[in-house]
Every structure is written in C-alpha cells, then in structure tokens.
C-alpha cells in the first residue's frame, strides 16, 4: 500500500534550495581566471572575483608555494582585490580552487586562449 503516490509528502521547494548550498558562502559571482601576455613568452595570470571572506594574502602565499611562482594582491577600485601570478597558472588555479572547495566548477570562468 505504500506505493500510493498521492500519499507521499512532496516538497516542491526541494529543488529550489538545492542550488543554494552548492555555492560557498559569500561567492555569488563568477571567479574569472585570465591570462595576459607579457614580453616574450612570459605570461601573467589574474584571478578576479574571489569573495571578501577569504584572505587573499594567504591565498597568494599558498599559490606561490604550490605553483612555484611569484604573485601579489592588487587592489582595484572596480574589481576589488585581484590576485596576480607569474606565468600561465590557469589550470593550476582552477584545480586548486576546486580541490580546496573554495569554488565550484561552474563558478570558475577561465578566459584566454
């Protein structure tokens, strides 16, 4: 008798709330990972849009150690704090952010060639 579908409780908002808890607190926007060419074969990677809840300096420190590159935090009037790293670290950063669950895969936008 338990097969009667009408009697089952159905929460119509189950789906609606599902999406919410996927995003870590405070990051409602995309995180953009860009790459810029410098002179010669050198490149520069910028990470924009990490929420204010995270300490960028500590992140940079971790990036620097992990990817063996230099990097800084740049303050920008419009885009907030932006992380700059030397070299093309797009893949590394993407993987890192996913691994530490700072961002979901859908949230990351990798730009550039």
């Amino acid at each position: 008798m338990s097969d009667i579908q009408n009697l089952q409780t159905f929460d119509p908002f189950a789906d609606a709330t599902k999406g919410d808890d996927r995003l870590p607190a405070g990051t409602e926007e995309y995180i953009h990972i860009r790459v810029q060419q410098r002179n010669g074969r050198k490149t520069l990677t910028t990470v924009q849009g990490i929420s204010a809840n995270y300490d960028k300096k500590k992140l940079v420190k971790a990036f620097k150690k992990k990817f063996a590159c230099n990097g800084t935090v740049v303050e920008h009037s419009e885009h907030g704090e932006v992380i700059q790293l030397q070299g093309d670290q797009r893949k590394n950063i993407r993987q890192f952010l996913i691994d530490v669950e700072l961002a979901k895969e859908e949230q990351l936008k990798v730009h550039g060639f």
Partner: protein
Amino acid sequence: MSGDEMIFDPNMTKKKKKKKKPFMLDEEGGDGVPGEEAKEVEAKEVEPEGGDDKEVDFDEDEGRKKEPSDDLDDLNFLNQKKKKKKPKKVFDNEVEEGIKELKIESEEPEPIEEDDLDLMLPVKKKKSKKVDFEEGLETLEKDDVLDDDEGKNNDGISFSSSTGPAWAGTERDYSYDELLNRVFNIMREKNPDMVAGEKRKFVMKPPQVVRVGTKKTSFVNFTDICKLLHRQPKHLLAFLLAELGTSGSIDGNNQLVIKGRFQQKQIENVLRRYIKEYVTCHTCRSPDTILQKDTRLYFLQCETCHSRCSVASIKTGFQAVTGKRAQLRAKAN
C-alpha cells in the same frame, strides 16, 4: 547531454551489440554467421538513417568519455589535424572498450556465438529476467521465439518497421521497453531530423592566423568568419580582445591585427567559445540565430526553434599592467 542520453537510451544496448559484432567478425576471420552480416548490410543500404544513427551514437560516446569538455567539440574547424585524427582514435578506443565489454559482460556468450547462435543469447537472458517478473516461466518459450524476431529487427534498426510490433499476434503483453522503442521508431520515421536524430555538426572555416613582425598577430580572414557566423565584426572583435586580454584593431585589408603572439589553435579555442555562447542556440544548438540588442542587453534569437535568451555581456575585467609603467606615467602627464 543528459537530454540526449534520454533520447538515445532505448536503443542503446542494442546498438552496442551491433557495433561489437563487426569487430567480432573481423577478429575471428569471418567466423561468425555470414548470413547475418549480409542482412545487416542490406538493412543499412535500405535505410541511410541507420548509418546516421550509428554515427550519432558514436558521437555520444565520445562526449561521454571526456564529459565536461564543453559541447564545443562539434564545432568542426575544417583543416584541423587534431580533429581529423580524433574520430579514429575514439573509434579505436571504442573497439578496445568493446573488447573489454565483451569480456566483462558476456563471457559466456562469446564461445556460444561462434556456433551460429550468435547475438540472440544475451538478449534472451536479459529479457528472460524481466519476463520472470511479469509472466512466469510458462511463457518463456514463447518469448524466446519472439525475441529471435526482435533480434533480427534490431540488427538493421528498421525504422520503417512494416512488420508491426513484436507482440502482434500473440497474447503476450508488451513490455515498456518495446513500447518505448516503438514510439521512438515512429518519431524518427515521421521526422528524421527533428527528434535528435543527429547531432548537428557545425563546420567552420579555420581562422588564418599570421604573425606580423614579432609582437603582433594578424587574423586574416576575420571578416569572412564574421560573415559566416552572421555577426557584427565589432562584436566578435570585442569578444576576442576581451578574452585574449590585449588590444587590436582592424586594418585596411579587413584583417584583425592583435597585439601579442597567438597561434591558430589558440584563436580557434576562443572562437569556439564565442560560437558556443553567441552563435549556437542555447536550446536547440542550431547556428541559425540572430543577435539583437535590446535595452542594453544582447539577446540571441533562434530562427529554428524561435527561442530567445539573453547572452552574457562582454567584459574585459581586470587588466594588469604589462607595459612599461614609465610610459603610462608619461602619458598621464
């Protein structure tokens, strides 16, 4: 992708079998039943859709293998060597997979298949399990006969199945799978291209990218590609420059000159992304779309399915200082 899978699902297992079979034949040096093969070939000749479908299936497999890699893979650039190689590779993989599957799934049927009973046995096994639930053991024998018929039908995927449903003329109940198959066959028969019969391939000219000096790159057929995509050069230009994070302009010969070194492959990548976002319809993926600007937002209007959706605006985002700071300062003063 999930939607596609839903659509393809009903025939999935049977298709696989079909694919496996030629391989089997190859390996065993034509040890299988030649009559069966001939039948298959005939069926294919009669219905070109059968062939198409196989291809689709194939595509889908490819998609599943490297799943999150965007749907961009169906944007074919013509003379891209990688792309050309890929299908072959995938096929190899598939064949290999086929071997594995054969070994894993049907270890018993393999030896049996050699003595003329091929293909029917696994089907029977699967079916019989289902039947057990519904009808019990008595009808099993009857079912076996029916299944044989079905097996033959499925070999060539006869869409115009004039023979009628498999359950016709017997007092057996039709199973859900059979009904599903039937309805999909009818759908495909009535409008072959509509019902996700094929994955649309979007074939593009490859971008011609030439180095100008050491620090600049020229995109020679930029305007051609704009025309091909039915987009304003201005729009594509804005996107390219924003994505590449550089500056550039269109010169006198309608070439796009970009600052920085870029290879054709890299430009292709960016173009692919552009096509995915701004050219193909997000609903039906047809490239037959119009980009309109409406109250500061861009909308993509599909000419095939008439859906309309907004697309992301092009933003450059943060740009780091890469030039000489001294120059910047000099400019500011």
